[in-house]
């Protein structure tokens, strides 16, 4: 499979604190990558650097050979990278359907009828077609997050970023969102997922990245990582998820 996303020597500082130092990463088309690590290790910042929400201090992120961060003048690159946030961030004044249609119609200038058809079929796929005229506040957290995923998919992104998308959800809603992501993995979409759901990570990942102190400490396949992590830091991190040991 061919390389789609490349990160070279990425450095990111907040004031004097180096959040990410010398990140190098090559991602192949169709790969599902799960990023884990203790809080504050720079996982979310890495995602934000990939789609240009954060400026980077050194290095380059490129998508299919084209630089996306530092970004060239046109924002076209960003549209090819979709992102789903922890707090869903639907637009509260718009219905579900309007939320999903806004960017395709205003940014991509797509035809309303054609975009609506796609939106309804995607909403149907996540079980929410019947809620198309509801407003975000009438939906549960899990439902909102599924809509947010559809909204990102509508832009036909080459790469999807998930930033702790289940962290704000009640436990019984986590599953419905993870199922949607699992479905996307089966479709061989390229995804980078930051999560604290270790069993989900194990089930979905093609590759696991363990980030600590702003560097990639381990980059391995999920079985190797979860069964026999190479470093002490990863072992310690994984132990925090186990009780009674």
């Amino acid at each position: 499979m061919s390389e789609i996303l490349k990160i070279e020597h990425l450095h990111k500082k907040f004031e004097d604190f180096e959040v990410l130092s010398d990140i190098n990463l090559s991602i192949k088309k169709g790969e599902t990558i799960v990023i884990v690590g203790p809080s504050g290790c720079g996982k979310s910042t890495l995602l934000r650097c990939i789609n240009g929400l954060e400026d980077i201090d050194e290095g380059e992120v490129s998508l299919e050979g084209e630089a996306v961060n530092p970004a060239p003048k046109n924002a076209a690159g960003r549209r090819k990278i979709g992102m789903v946030f922890q707090s869903y961030e639907l637009f509260p004044h718009k219905t579900i359907l309007e939320n999903v249609l806004l960017a395709p119609m205003k940014v991509q200038k797509r035809d309303r009828k054609e975009a609506t058809e796609e939106a309804l079929s995607l909403l149907d796929r996540v079980g929410l077609a019947s809620r198309k005229d509801s407003y975000p506040r009438q939906l549960s957290g899990g439902q909102k997050q599924r809509v947010a995923i559809v909204r990102a998919l509508m832009m036909h992104p080459e790469v999807l970023l998930f930033d702790e998308v289940t962290a704000a959800l009640d436990p019984e809603m986590v599953r419905e969102v993870l199922d949607v992501i699992l479905d996307l993995a089966k479709q061989k979409r390229t995804m980078l997922i930051v999560t604290h759901e270790m069993s989900f990570a194990k089930a979905i990942a093609d590759r696991v990245l363990f980030l600590d102190g702003g560097t990639i400490v381990e980059d391995s396949d999920p079985n190797a990582f979860f069964e026999a992590p190479k470093t002490e830091r990863a072992k310690k991190f994984l132990q925090t998820f186990e009780f009674g040991s």
């Binding site: 789609n51 240009g52 929400l53 924002a75 076209a76 960003r78 549209r79 990278i81 979709g82 992102m83 946030f85 707090s87 961030e89 637009f91 509260p92 004044h93 806004l102 960017a103 205003k106 940014v107 991509q108 407003y135 009438q138 909204r151 990102a152 832009m155």
Partner: protein, 222 residues
């Protein structure tokens, strides 16, 4: 009770015309305040220190000074000082806009900072330009939050126009006083009836605005 005075001669029409004067001045000022307030409020929310400091001073001046003092400064003081001839009506529009803009800008600023940063970020992540983000995402949310707050300000501005008779404008309250004076002999109780009628007129002027705001709130609350 003095109500009969209201229907004597052209009194009712005169009262309504007085209300018209008050409404004209307040609504023109409200329109100016909304437009200028939106603009200044947006500037304030940009967190530029110099603009912020200037706006702070402006806002405090408006808050500290009673509207009547402002009216006197503009109508008596400013005209004398510059030798210009600003009409009473223009003076009151200047003062009411000066006041309304400051308060409106502060409301707008409050609404702007109440929109979470991540709403901008999720718009950006979807590829919306800065302008599109404002037009389709941020401003519609601002307007929804702003309506109930600004209705309060608008009704306050309408009510405060009762001060403009102090610089010689014959608005509804002044008309009322004239009617009472003119009928002092024939209807010594006119004061109650006339002021009650004015009370009702102010209510009729402000009530539809408040109804409209309730309607919008309901429509947007779903």
């Amino acid at each position: 009770m003095g109500f009969e005075v209201i229907f004597k001669g052209k009194n009712l029409i005169r009262l309504l015309a007085g209300l018209g004067v008050a409404m004209k001045i307040s609504l023109i000022s409200v329109a100016i305040s909304i437009a200028a307030g939106l603009l200044l409020g947006m500037l304030m929310s940009m967190k530029k220190p110099v603009i912020g400091a200037l706006m702070r001073v402006y806002l405090e001046i408006v808050r500290i000074k009673p509207q009547m003092v402002l009216l006197f400064i503009v109508f008596f003081g400013f005209t004398k000082m510059t030798g210009s001839n600003i009409s009473a009506e223009a003076s009151s529009i200047i003062v009411f806009s000066f006041w309304g803009t400051a308060e409106m800008a502060d409301l707008v600023r409050g609404c702007f900072i109440s929109i979470p940063v991540i709403q901008y970020e999720s718009s950006k992540a979807l590829g919306l330009s800065r302008l599109q983000t404002y037009v389709y995402v941020i401003i519609p949310q601002i307007v929804r939050r702003l309506i109930p707050l600004s209705i309060n300000l608008i009704t306050r501005m309408i009510k405060t126009t009762s001060l403009i008779m102090m610089i010689g404008i014959v608005e509804v309250l002044k008309v009322g006083q004239q009617i009472i004076e003119a009928n002092r002999k024939s209807a010594p109780n006119a004061a109650f009836g006339v002021f009650a009628a004015i009370f009702l007129l102010y209510f009729l002027a402000c009530w539809p605005i408040s109804c409209f705001s309730k309607y919008l709130e309901k429509k947007w609350a779903n």
